[in-house]
Subunit: 707 residues, 2 copies
Amino acid sequence: MSSMGKPRLSIREILNARSVAIVGASEDPAKWGGRALAIQVRHQVSARVLPVNPRAATLMGMPAYASLRDCPGPVDVAMLLVPRDRTRQALEDCIAAGVGCAVIVTAGFAELGDEGRQTEQDLVALARANGVRLIGPNCIGFLNARRNVIASTAVALAAVDRIAAGGIGMASQSGALMGMMLARGIDTGAGFSSLVSLGNQCDIDINEVFGYLIEDPDTSVICLYIEEVRDPARFRGLLARANAAGKPVLIAKSGRSRAGQRAVMSHTASLAGEWPVFEAVCRAHGVALFENIADLLDCAMIMARGQRMSGPRVAVFSGSGGAGALLVDALEVAGIETATLSQASRAHIAPLLPQANREIPIDFGTIIAQTSPDAVYGDEAGTLIGRVMEDDGVGAGVVMLTSQPAMDVVARAVVRVGAMTRKPLVFVHAAGSTGHAAREVLRDAGYGYLESQNDALRIMGALRDAAGAALCDPSHTPSPDHRTAADTPSGFLNEVQARQLIESYGLPTTQWRHAHDVDGVVRALAHFPGKVAIKAVSPTLVHKSDIGAVRLGIASDEEARQACAAIAAAVRDAGHELDGFLVTAMVRPDAELILGVQRDPAFGPMVMIGAGGVLVELLRDVQMAPAPVTRAQALAMVSRLRCKPLLEGWRGSKPADLDQLAEVIVRLGELAAGDSALRELDVNPLMLADGKVVAADARAFREPGGQ
Amino acid sequence: MSSMGKPRLSIREILNARSVAIVGASEDPAKWGGRALAIQVRHQVSARVLPVNPRAATLMGMPAYASLRDCPGPVDVAMLLVPRDRTRQALEDCIAAGVGCAVIVTAGFAELGDEGRQTEQDLVALARANGVRLIGPNCIGFLNARRNVIASTAVALAAVDRIAAGGIGMASQSGALMGMMLARGIDTGAGFSSLVSLGNQCDIDINEVFGYLIEDPDTSVICLYIEEVRDPARFRGLLARANAAGKPVLIAKSGRSRAGQRAVMSHTASLAGEWPVFEAVCRAHGVALFENIADLLDCAMIMARGQRMSGPRVAVFSGSGGAGALLVDALEVAGIETATLSQASRAHIAPLLPQANREIPIDFGTIIAQTSPDAVYGDEAGTLIGRVMEDDGVGAGVVMLTSQPAMDVVARAVVRVGAMTRKPLVFVHAAGSTGHAAREVLRDAGYGYLESQNDALRIMGALRDAAGAALCDPSHTPSPDHRTAADTPSGFLNEVQARQLIESYGLPTTQWRHAHDVDGVVRALAHFPGKVAIKAVSPTLVHKSDIGAVRLGIASDEEARQACAAIAAAVRDAGHELDGFLVTAMVRPDAELILGVQRDPAFGPMVMIGAGGVLVELLRDVQMAPAPVTRAQALAMVSRLRCKPLLEGWRGSKPADLDQLAEVIVRLGELAAGDSALRELDVNPLMLADGKVVAADARAFREPGGQ
């Protein structure tokens, strides 16, 4: 039977496969093919299981088939667990048997270099020509927990009878990290929709599965492990669609560091993109970013419950004063404030705690037993947690238990309150196996828990960032070049041209005049009330100050003539052309910033704002966002600058008008998005003077072939 | 029997008690008195157990006594588990029975306020008058794992038959956090010497136990949980003694934040000291500081093995390319570099890995099976880890496993290599219960493991800081005031007096002359090659610039006369006295720092250095050390400054002479330690100009009653 002309399966059809063949199935669960089959048996999967092994008649009590070609009926999915050199034969069998999708678990292809890459491409060509979809190679397959369809070798699956169904979906370039999601999720009670390991993504890629998870009604939270973003425009579109669908996206992406990039390359033959741009794009779409999969899953469980931080301050509960005090300290070091209770909340919990203890951190160790339970929250622990979580000043809660009696009672209280609050309430289990009963309570309730205080700091940070995110407006796509003058030159723009370009988008600049010769400069002087700067205008000179082509503090005609002569000589000596002089007003700034645009090859124009002077380099004090940016994004960028105190009236200087600064950033975003030829632009410095914002210099580069 | 005149027991005698009475013992393990007794039974403790309960003849198969007075033979230690209002009676029974030490587990004393404090003090007075030592109240007691002596209610103890003996000792103000040490230690295989929970420290305090642990031959690593440092001078002396004894000290201290301080207050009635000073004192004594007890214990296990980081770079091993890549990224974000393998190491591991994978992070997933084992490290995983750890560029290693087959094989390899290397090699177990066999291997070997990647980042940071610590020299105590002139005034010192003071300790200052009147200023001008600054000298004016009492850039006699007149008028208008004028050379600095001395009420004189200008306030860019400081400490302080790049030749400016800067800090330390009257001193700015270091202004305050 040939599959020629057969329509290629969708991700939905693959994840709802009615039959799964295991090519290379074995009786030995220590082998990949044995584990894959044992998982099918143990989970009593809903799809028909077809073990394929030429040397067995039955395997684990099921009839085995010598080849895919011998399998009865349609085969939707075939897992290929054969050695690398037999993969092509197995794929040919898939084609002959009309298999819809082959999951190539086997490794040793593109991730090992050129030879492997060629072999892999040959497989893809063969599969595509015959309508077979491919997942992998170098992956651990997939599972659909809702429908109990599995085509995976994940070690964690072999240890349980069933994966809990829930709203958490995942697409992962790494099989091991999908396995970690499963292993940890099994322990903490996470509920999954579908998880897909993509490996080398030779056919089906992360974007395709990401798109499916957005549409999938079973999925409410989307988790991605990414090494390389393929088709960045499509990826960004998917982020916007996920936002529109109200589904949080949580991403762990490797390749941030150089050594990490190397690991990624050898792992699945990917080249990682540049981190700051990726981070800015994610931020603009409300993505929560994680350094590891455990944190990602813990946060996904909270988000799957619909819990979001309602304010920046956190309530801390513990079973001991010492543990609570340490947690409060650690939160502060991590930049997370501890909440203070309102009078009303204090009154609510007054019967439960001695006078001295009615404040955060709440210490369960001092609880006063009640004779009649609270009608809303039941027992004492529940009431204490519940009433505190109701406080408007509390944005989220952390319950941290060290080894102590009745941990399970507190765990039950957390599950109860957690089902009634819209705020995140996490349980940190710091008692090791001593308090295992509490873990079981939390797992059985599908609630989750953390093992480490350090993890709680990460989770709270991620939740706070997610709650405060200022998103881009995907509907806002400025019409190209609507404000860039048709005669704007391309290539390097001199300061006059760059000033004209930014002014056409409404950015304020210091007063200026372009004079073509010395006499023009002298005439221009009359138009400036105070001292001026005189600069060379040149189509080729980028760093004017470096060669002495800028003169400051010019007050008289005589000084101007001397300055022009000196500038002209300096430009000539440096071998540059001179297109006259720029006369500009001098401003004494209270603070200086830099603004910029960079066109990223993957994600397009990015707007940047940073601290001026030494701070930007010393602190890497730069914020970035994809263009265009909304006013809220611009304000958020400014508020994330480390140098923000300098803008707020440092040592008696006048505070900058942050609204006006945000407006300037928005306009720069319009320019970046609107002028499709613009490759880079620097406004350096952007001066904040006397409460106003004004560009004091600018340069730009526009693509020659642009408009 | 009365104990009048009996010598009070030492900590050693208490921890080696031959008999332990449990006052308030019970048959019900759900009660405190039942758990305490059940622990004695289950652990088959070496001390004789004496259950005391007036309503039972036998308890858990042992004869019970109605009162301490009825117990046969000497009672070394009595645990008091009676209600608060019966504690005094129980103590009176202790006195009558000649008990050596009462462990008051009961809470509700000083930690609840004034009334409880009075009750507690009455107990102490009674005990002291009768030679009875007290531990607690509000504690969970102690255990000596080496001798199997227990007087504790710790929940974790009730779950096991025996606590593993080893080198880790602890003194803890919090019972729950000592319980957490035990619970986690039981899971990870930690070996303990003695652990003591001090609670309210009404008699025996942390310092006393700390001192014991320094002397205790069974203890090799000392762990402290501190809320309040009592007797700071003694505490500092103990830190120095621990150093001299070669025993690492690991501390978690709460009260860093304000909310944390409140929790500490209500917990054991302590007032937490100020954090930055505490941190500086700890740093000067090589103490490793931790935010939580889990990290503290994990690090203690590594140090108890004698492992120390031999260099700043870390090797990463993982079972998956993705997990390794994420870990490398996370290490970089945490400021920890990943190592690169030498050619020799690469050659060593060549048979074990494909060409593309012979680099860090090492991916066990790509290992090539060997036919003959390595003679040194045994199997493939062991050889891979061992050969990489041998690399001189590798200072420590992190093995991170997600859920995968044969995790226990890797765990065994880690235990094997870990026993052969002097470098820290940590195992991060990120597979949940799936890989429990690996956990058992690590626990049974007493090796330990981490549950979270975030924990690994903390541990590596702590180990790196510990390895690079520059310690103070406790033997270096400058003779008091040996260089401070006898006629140095007290109270506020004007700039002339402050300059003379710092110059007497060898700190370089900008050239200066003190002129008593305008004519003196004009005469002084002749001694300065360039422009000068003229400042008011006044015994009362602290902030000269604020009122216009500083004039810069004076070049001529005429300018000097004008400046003096203006300064005199300004000082007069501000209501201050004028003691003439200071003429100083002007220096154009490449960078500015601030130096200072502050006398801390607890820990004495502290030397500070910080970034000048906006940076110190924006970044809190200050480093501090207790005076005196060694040259190595001074260099370490400079190298920790965030603004250090500014000192190293920023944008073409001449690099500062860091050796000279360190020398200036050392001399400031001599001054701070040597002048016992000095309360505070500011050198602001300290200028770095043309490679040289020079103080351009100074002010000081000396205690009127000082010398």
